[in-house]
Structure formats: structure tokens, C-alpha cells
């Protein structure tokens, strides 16, 4: 499939990949219905897409603009302008906290993120917000002289049709820095992960540089705010890490084209950028299973070794790590086996976490992913992470797709009655806690990566299980905000209509 960098607006996930946000069944059936290998190209009317028919009830979720905020807003020497009414700026609080803690974790100076809102009002809805956008760009430049300015659009500017592209182009020239429009109106895509792609699209178009010499030991690692696990790991192979997009500088982003390879820890996040870097700049994307569990990490490292010509070093490292980690994992297995876990996270990330849980002898009968991409941008079956999970670690009986609809979560958890859940993104944890189920919020998304990740996650789970008492007490004293009749219903009865009903 071909990524089109020619237009300022990114093609949404559902257009490119056939993304679905509501589905219920076993993991193996989802693999089958995704037709990854036959399909390989964008949504083409496979059964999966036909089946999905958004039902009558929904709760608030997240939006593309928020993903722009947490990527473009976290480039250390850039500023993000939110071209929106002030309410869109409310989420700065969440992302500022992530930014600051991530800086601390990586040993960088802690500071607030720089975001400026154009603060649109009713007049602007009538007459357009372009004047304000220009003022804001000038103001931002005078205050901070950033290395780049990102402009995130909003639902309101999308509807009134502000020509953000022309203004961006004009000020790119005037200021001599990239001024980059990121089209991320919340209503334009059914899933917020399009916002990742929107940010990456803008960076690829206006920041990544052409025609520089390659750096044969540099590897782009596409991540968010996780702790620094890749630098020591790749150092063993004689490779340097270029962390992008979060916490990078504009020049880190510019040099992505010079790297020897691109890797990720989650296909959901890295699919677009990694594929486009290969297509447009010839930087090979490491097409392998994600680096979780022994099998996944082995395969991921071997492919990275092959692409960067470090095969021998990789084998030495694998052997050394197996020797070190296997006894630790065995010990954790002895303590954790028989415990039941549940994973509720972003799509491809859950595929990795389930693998790790199973390495630890934990039973996983259910998982909730916030969306599902039947295929990733490369179209390469080696990146079919769900199929890899099912083939190597077995099926997951209840594998549900839901864009974080809390009202379904009670019923989903009741199906499997887990002892704990792993959660990334808030919103679901409160409900689990009210049901007496402890949740690990996975603040550091790199926690479970690689060989050491199995040990880390195992230890975190032991910590969570120790909190059970608090949760049990809480469950005895809370009232759930849902009707009893609903809690006893099929969690998908208001979300997916069967094909027959959909056609009716």
C-alpha cells in the first residue's frame, strides 16, 4: 500500500487500514476475519468491515487532536498551537503531566509543555479564525523562537473551513522554520489513533530532511514517554537510538531519514511513520513480531540484526539474556501461575502484553482493545501481531474491540472474572476498581518490553495483587452508575447490530 505525503491532510486509519472500533469474538476469529495476508491493502469490503455497524449508544472517548497534543506537543524545542476554543486546551493538563514525568525519567530537564491556544469565540465561528491564528503564530514566535511550530486543528475550525494550510505556508517562509498544519479534527475519524498519523504525516512532509549521509549505527525508535530501555539494549549491538516523536528535538526528527532502521514497540503507534520512512527515504522498517516475551523479542532482535548487519552480536546478546532472565521468569511463574489477568489497552500493545502474561504462566481469557487494524501500513504479514500471538501463545477466548466504552466493561470483566487487569489510558480503571478488581495503570509503557520486561511486569503484578484489600473494601461501598438491567445484558447489545439487523 502506498502512503501519500502529497497532500497536507492525512488519510484516516479507517480509509487506509479498515480500522474497526466495535467487534466481539475470539482472537483467532478476528485474525481470520481480518484477512491480513490476502487483504494486505486498505479496506476493501472484507467481512470484518461489513459486520461493523455502530449501535445506538456511545460514551465519550478520545479524539485525534489529543494524540496530536501528546506527540507534536512533546517535541522539546517546538511549540504546538491549538487552533480551537479554549476547551480543547483542557487536556494539556494530562499531557503536561506525562511530559514532565517522562523528561524526569529520561534524565532531561523538567519543564512545562509549550502549547498556545488561539482561544476562538463565537465571532470567529462567523468570520473565521484566520486572523487570530496569524496573531498567535506571531505571538508564539516572539515569546519562544521555537525550532518548529505545529498547528493542530479542531472540530470547529474544520467545520468553518479555516485555510490553515495557506497560513502555515506563509509563515514557514516568513519565519524560516517549519510551520506545520496537522489536520486532526475529532469528528473526521472514528478512532483517535488517526491523530498519531496526522502528527507523523506533518513531520514527514516538513521536518525530515532529504539528501544527508546515512548514519549506519542509528536506529529510529518510535515511542511515547517510556523509560529508556532501548538505549542500553541497542548499545549491546553497537547501535545508537533516535527516540521519536515524543521528547525528541526538531533535529532528532530531521535526522530520521539517515537512520539504518526504524523499530517500534507498538504497531498502532509506529505503523505510519515507519512505513513512510521506508517508502520515502529508504530507511528499512524492521518487519518482525513486536519485542515481547522470549519468542517475540528473539525474532525482533534477529530482524533488527539482519537489517543493520549485526547478526553475530545479536546472537550473543540473545544467549546472554536468555541465560540471565530465564531463571527469573521461572521463579515468577511459580508464584503467578494460575492467576487470571485481563488486558485493556491500545490495539497492538495488548498483543504484546498478553504474550508476556502467558510467559509468566498467567491465564488470559479476555482482552479489550480500543480499536483493531485489520492490517498495518506495510501490509507485511510479519507484522500481523495478532496472528503471531495466536500462533505462538494460543487463542484468547474473549477478544473484544471497543473504543473505550466503559458501559461495556462490566459485562466483559464478568465473563472472565480476572484477578487483575492491565490498563493503558484512564477511563476504564475506575470501573474496575469499583468492581473490586485491582488495575495496573502501566504508567511506563516500556515496562514489559524485551526480556527484562517479563520480569518487570511480573513484579508489578505481584504489587497490584497486594492492593486487593483496598479494592475489595471499595467495591463493598460503591454504587455503580449503571442500571441493573443493563449490567445483566450482553455488553455488545447496544453497540454492534448483527448484520441482519444492520441491513434491515
Amino acid at each position: 500500500m502506498v502512503i501519500n505525503l502529497g497532500t497536507p491532510v492525512v488519510e484516516s486509519r479507517e480509509q487506509r487500514l479498515g480500522t474497526v472500533i466495535a467487534w466481539d469474538g475470539s482472537a483467532s476469529r478476528l485474525v481470520k476475519e481480518s484477512c491480513y495476508s490476502e487483504n494486505g491493502t486498505a479496506c476493501c469490503g472484507c467481512r470484518l468491515c461489513e459486520r461493523e455497524n455502530r449501535g445506538p449508544f456511545t460514551q465519550g472517548a478520545s479524539c485525534s487532536e489529543m494524540m496530536v497534543e501528546c506527540q507534536a506537543g512533546h517535541v522539546r524545542d517546538a511549540v504546538l498551537i491549538q487552533h480551537s476554543p479554549i476547551g480543547c486546551g483542557a487536556s494539556q493538563v494530562t499531557y503536561n503531566s506525562k511530559f514532565r514525568n517522562a523528561l524526569k525519567m529520561r534524565g532531561l530537564p523538567v519543564k512545562n509543555m509549550r502549547v498556545v491556544s488561539t482561544n476562538l469565540d463565537e465571532n470567529d465561528m462567523v468570520f473565521g479564525g484566520i486572523d487570530k491564528l496569524e496573531n498567535t503564530i506571531v505571538e508564539t514566535w516572539e515569546r519562544y523562537q521555537p525550532k518548529a511550530i505545529f498547528i493542530g486543528t479542531s472540530c470547529s475550525t474544520g467545520i468553518i473551513g479555516d485555510d490553515v494550510d495557506s497560513v502555515s505556508e506563509e509563515y514557514s517562509q516568513k519565519l524560516g522554520i517549519p510551520v506545520i498544519p496537522l489536520h486532526c479534527e475529532g469528528f473526521k475519524s472514528k478512532h483517535w489513533s488517526t491523530g498519531f498519523d496526522a502528527t507523523q504525516h506533518g513531520i514527514l512532509r516538513q521536518i525530515v530532511r532529504h539528501g544527508h549521509e546515512k548514519q549506519e549505527d542509528l536506529v529510529n525508535v518510535i515511542n511515547l514517554w517510556g523509560s529508556d530501555v532501548f538505549r542500553p539494549m541497542l548499545a549491546e549491538l553497537g547501535l545508537r537510538v533516535n527516540y521519536v516523536v515524543d521528547l525528541a528535538t526538531v533535529s532528532d526528527l530531521a535526522q530520521m531519514s539517515e537512520a539504518a532502521a526504524t523499530v517500534g514497540f507498538c504497531n498502532t503507534l509506529s505503523s505510519y511513520l515507519a512505513t513512510a520512512l521506508e517508502q520515502e527515504f529508504g530507511v528499512p522498517q524492521v518487519k518482525a513480531p513486536q519485542p515481547y516475551g522470549f519468542a517475540g523479542t528473539d525474532a525482533w532482535l534477529r530482524e533488527l540484526g539482519r537489517v543493520t548487519h549485526r547478526e553475530t552480536k545479536v546472537e550473543t546478546y540473545i544467549e546472554k539474556e536468555h541465560r540471565r532472565v530465564k531463571p527469573l521468569v521461572e521463579e515468577l511463574r511459580a508464584r503467578l501461575s494460575g492467576v487470571k489477568g485481563y488486558v485493556a489497552t491500545g490495539s497492538a500493545y495488548s498483543h504484546g502484553l498478553i504474550a508476556v502474561l502467558r510467559e509468566l504462566g498467567i491465564r488470559v481469557d479476555g482482552s479489550l482493545v480500543f480499536h483493531h487494524d485489520p492490517v498495518y501500513d506495510s501490509g507485511d504479514p510479519k507484522q500481523d501481531s495478532l496472528a503471531y500471538l495466536v500462533e505462538n501463545y494460543g487463542d484468547v477466548a474473549h477478544f473484544s474491540v471497543s473504543n473505550r466504552q466503559q458501559y461495556q466493561f462490566y459485562g466483559l470483566l464478568k465473563r472472565v472474572n480476572p484477578d487483575f487487569i492491565l490498563i493503558r489510558h484512564n477511563g476504564l480503571a475506575p470501573l474496575a476498581a469499583r468492581m473490586g478488581i485491582p488495575a495496573a495503570p502501566l504508567g511506563d509503557e516500556h515496562l514489559a518490553v524485551g526480556y527484562q520486561g517479563m520480569v518487570n511486569l511480573g513484579e508489578s503484578i505481584r504489587d497490584i495483587l497486594a492492593h486487593k484489600k483496598f479494592h475489595r473494601d471499595l467495591a463493598e461501598h460503591v454504587t455503580l452508575p449503571y442500571k441493573k438491567s443493563w449490567l445483566e445484558s450482553d455488553p455488545y447489545s447496544l453497540s454492534i447490530q448483527t448484520s441482519a439487523a444492520g441491513e434491515a
Binding site: F57, G87, S91, V93, D121
Partner: protein, 438 residues
């Protein structure tokens, strides 16, 4: 023309979803884009409460709704909400998408009401205004579309009052503040509809709003729009106390003025005030040795980066009762022009000797720049928000987080209003000062 904002300290009009969340067993139903309710919750919603945050039903507007209108989807989501969410009142609120497109939400709400369902609506498209002002819009909509039809029998009840004192969640200490205000008003013999939070009886209480003898607005300007509306609708008079009463002097003043307005029995009122003041000052007395010995360590000046009610309330308490001197005072609630004169007046007459000028400024970037430019010779106290943490650290100042985002504090029942709140202020300021000691 409104200007750019860095570090937002309030939300858009849709932020009034939190007004609904603060009413017992009420739930907002958003007709908006998919991210709005979680964005808002992250700034003004520590804790989901009963049915806030990710529980909030939302139409998650998509392109189709924007092009063809989203009324059908709204109808279906309200229907779903009635089946799924266990609540007694459902409040439809629009976001930018539905407000620009112009979906007719009134008809949808009316249809449900005609079918006997407790559904009301309000226009809160984000661009319309901020959540201070839309708090009034939402409260008035609930009154007009719900309370009015369900109003309690019996006409005006002597001594019953409705209190509009603070904007729930925008004031992060709203629950504690309202509890204390209710407590002291009951102390002087009133029966209080506090309307929001723990101490409210929820919707049965709302149904008696028209029966109040009078309304109290204890806030510099937010709430006046509700009191005026109630005066027009039910002829209920109102008493306006133009800031948050904090500490001994101001709380007693608040109670005496209220009592005078209501014509309450003076002996009873004075007896209550007397017993409260005794308690309040006895704590200070008992600590006098510590406070005085310690005096060299207290901040000398304070900056405010607060909304009008907090700024005036705290300035009066800090200046008149604790002897801390005001430095620059920033009012960050985007106060409507018509109310600014009175607020300037309050600061101009802070004490007989001291006059302070205030700056109305909503942009955190500018505010911090101005504070940094000040001569920073003596230790300062900053009354601000989580955004001001680095500023405080750089200036070697103490920071008391009173406004959103609170970020670095967990708030359960803490409040700063009234006698009890006044003591809490002292505890918390000293807490920060003592924490810097080796």
C-alpha cells in the same frame, strides 16, 4: 477580541458538564465530538464522581453528523442513556460540532419530556463562552425545563434559601466549601438548598428552588445570572455577598449581612457567631507562640492567580488577619466587563490603608512573565494552580494550589471557605513553609 491563552485555567462552555456531574444522580449527555468530555475532565474533574468522566454518554459526532445533522444520533444516544445509566436527570449539552451545525436539541429534549422522561438540554458549544458563564446557563436550563414542572407544593417557605456560591469542579474545593457554607448558614437558623455535592439532597432539593424565601449569591459574579433569573421567574429576592468568605472576620460579616437581609433573630445569630469565633480564635491563640516565633519564616508577599471570588476572599483574609502583603493580583476567570468595576473597588479598599490594583488576564504565559520581571527580594507566596509550580520553584516561593489544574494535590473534602476553611488556609500555608525546612 479575545487573545491567546497559554496554560488554561478554565474550560470552554461545555465545561459545564461538571455542573451536571455535581448534582446527585444527574448525568450529562454530550452532543459533541469524541474527545470533549475527557478533555474537560482532565482539567476540572479530579475523580469521575458518580457518572462523570468516561461514564458520560456522548454522540461522538462524526463527519456524517456534521454534514447531515446529528439529531437522529442524539435521539438514539439519549435513548441508550436512559436504558444504561442509572440516573434521575439527563442533561443534553452541545459541543462545537452540534452548535455550529445548529442541531435542534430543544425538540429532542421536549420529545423525551413529552414521553415522561427527565431530559433537559442547554446550548454549550465550546466557542460560545467559558464554563463560569455556562454554569449559569446550565443551572437556569435545569430550572426552566425540569424544576419548574416538578416544583414542590406549598409556596414560599420561610427561612428556606438557595445558595449559589461556587462553580463545582472549576473550584476544586467546591465540595468542602459548600459544606462549610451550608453549615454556617444553618447555624444562624436558615434551611439551606446547597444544590451540589455531598451535602445536597439532590433533585428533591432542586424541586424546592422556587419555594425559597430568598437566594444567596456568595461569589463575585458567577451565580448572579441565576439569582436574577429566579427573581424574574418566581419573584425570589436575592442577597449578594461578592466573594468567598474565608476566616473569622469575613465569615462573621457574611453571616451578619445575610441575617440582616433575612431579618433573622439577632440574638441567635450573634450567639452562633460568638461560639464559632471563639473556636476559630482559640486555635490561633493556642498556636500563638509557634506562629510568632516562626514569623520570620512566613512569606511576606503574596501573588494571586485566581478567579475573582477566590482572589478577593483570600486577599481580605491574608491581608487583614494574617498580615501578608499583596503583590500583583491577577484575575483569571475572564470576568465580564460589567463586573470588573466592583472587583477593582474591593481591591482598592482592601484595608483602610492599603489599596491594590488588579489585572484581568487569562493568559498564563503573560502572567508568569510579569511575575518573573518583579523584584523578588523577599519570600513570596503564590496562590495559583499546578501551572505555577516551576515559577514558584524558580522564585523560591511557596505555592498554594487553589485553582485548576490542581495536578499536585489530591482533594477529598478540603475547603477554604468559612471559619473551618480559614484555619485550613493557615495549616496549608505553614505546611508549605515547614516543608522547606531542613
Amino acid at each position: 477580541m479575545s487573545k491567546v491563552i497559554e496554560q488554561p485555567r478554565y474550560s470552554c462552555a461545555l465545561g459545564a458538564q461538571q455542573t451536571v456531574v455535581a448534582i446527585k444522580r444527574a448525568v450529562p449527555v454530550l452532543h459533541s465530538g469524541p474527545g470533549c468530555c475527557n478533555k474537560i475532565t482532565s482539567l476540572i474533574g479530579q475523580g469521575e464522581s458518580y457518572a462523570g468522566g468516561s461514564t458520560i454518554p456522548c454522540t461522538n459526532s462524526n463527519e456524517r453528523d456534521v454534514v447531515f445533522g446529528g439529531v437522529e444520533k442524539l435521539r438514539s444516544v439519549v435513548n441508550g442513556a436512559l436504558q444504561v445509566v442509572d440516573a434521575d436527570l439527563y442533561v443534553i449539552l452541545t459541543g462545537c460540532t452540534a452548535s455550529i451545525v445548529g442541531d435542534d436539541i430543544d425538540s429532542v429534549a421536549q420529545e423525551f419530556r413529552d414521553a415522561g422522561k427527565p431530559v433537559v438540554c442547554a446550548e454549550t458549544g465550546g466557542f460560545k463562552t467559558n464554563n463560569y458563564r455556562s454554569h449559569e446557563v446550565v443551572v437556569n436550563s435545569v430550572i426552566d425545563q425540569y424544576v419548574d414542572a416538578h416544583r414542590a407544593e406549598g409556596g414560599v417557605q420561610k427561612r428556606l434559601v438557595n445558595v449559589f456560591a461556587t462553580v463545582p469542579y472549576q473550584d476544586p474545593y467546591w465540595n468542602g466549601n459548600l459544606a462549610e457554607i451550608k453549615r454556617v448558614l444553618e447555624g444562624i437558623g436558615l434551611k439551606v438548598n446547597i444544590l451540589f455535592g455531598q451535602e445536597s439532597e439532590g433533585l428533591p432539593e432542586w424541586k424546592t428552588i422556587p419555594n425559597a424565601e430568598f437566594n444567596i449569591v456568595a461569589s463575585s459574579w458567577v451565580g448572579l445570572g441565576i439569582a436574577k433569573h429566579l427573581k424574574q421567574k418566581y419573584g425570589t429576592p436575592y442577597f449578594h455577598f461578592p466573594y468567598l468568605p474565608v476566616g473569622g472576620v469575613e465569615t462573621s460579616r457574611f453571616l451578619r449581612q445575610t441575617a440582616e437581609f433575612a431579618g433573622l433573630d439577632k440574638n441567635r445569630v450573634e450567639a452562633f457567631i460568638d461560639s464559632e469565633e471563639k473556636k476559630f480564635y482559640s486555635f490561633l491563640e493556642r498556636m500563638a507562640d509557634f506562629l510568632l516565633e516562626f514569623r520570620y519564616g512566613l512569606p511576606r508577599r503574596f501573588y494571586s492567580i485566581l478567579d475573582a471570588s477566590y482572589a478577593i476572599g483570600f486577599a481580605k483574609y491574608l491581608v487583614n488577619e494574617l498580615g501578608v502583603v499583596p503583590a500583583r493580583q491577577f484575575i483569571v476567570d475572564d470576568t465580564p466587563e460589567e463586573f470588573r468595576g466592583e472587583i477593582r473597588g474591593e481591591f482598592a479598599h482592601l484595608t483602610e490603608r492599603r489599596s491594590v490594583s488588579v489585572e484581568f488576564e487569562t493568559d498564563g504565559g503573560i502572567i508568569q512573565q510579569r511575575i518573573r520581571q518583579d523584584e523578588n527580594k523577599t519570600r513570596a507566596l503564590i496562590l495559583g494552580s499546578g501551572w505555577d509550580r516551576d515559577l514558584a520553584k524558580d522564585l523560591n516561593a511557596d505555592l498554594l494550589i487553589l485553582g485548576v489544574p490542581v495536578e499536585y494535590r489530591l482533594i477529598l473534602n478540603c475547603g477554604y471557605a468559612g471559619y473551618r476553611g480559614g484555619l485550613r488556609v493557615i495549616e496549608d500555608i505553614y505546611d508549605r513553609v515547614l516543608d522547606t525546612y531542613r
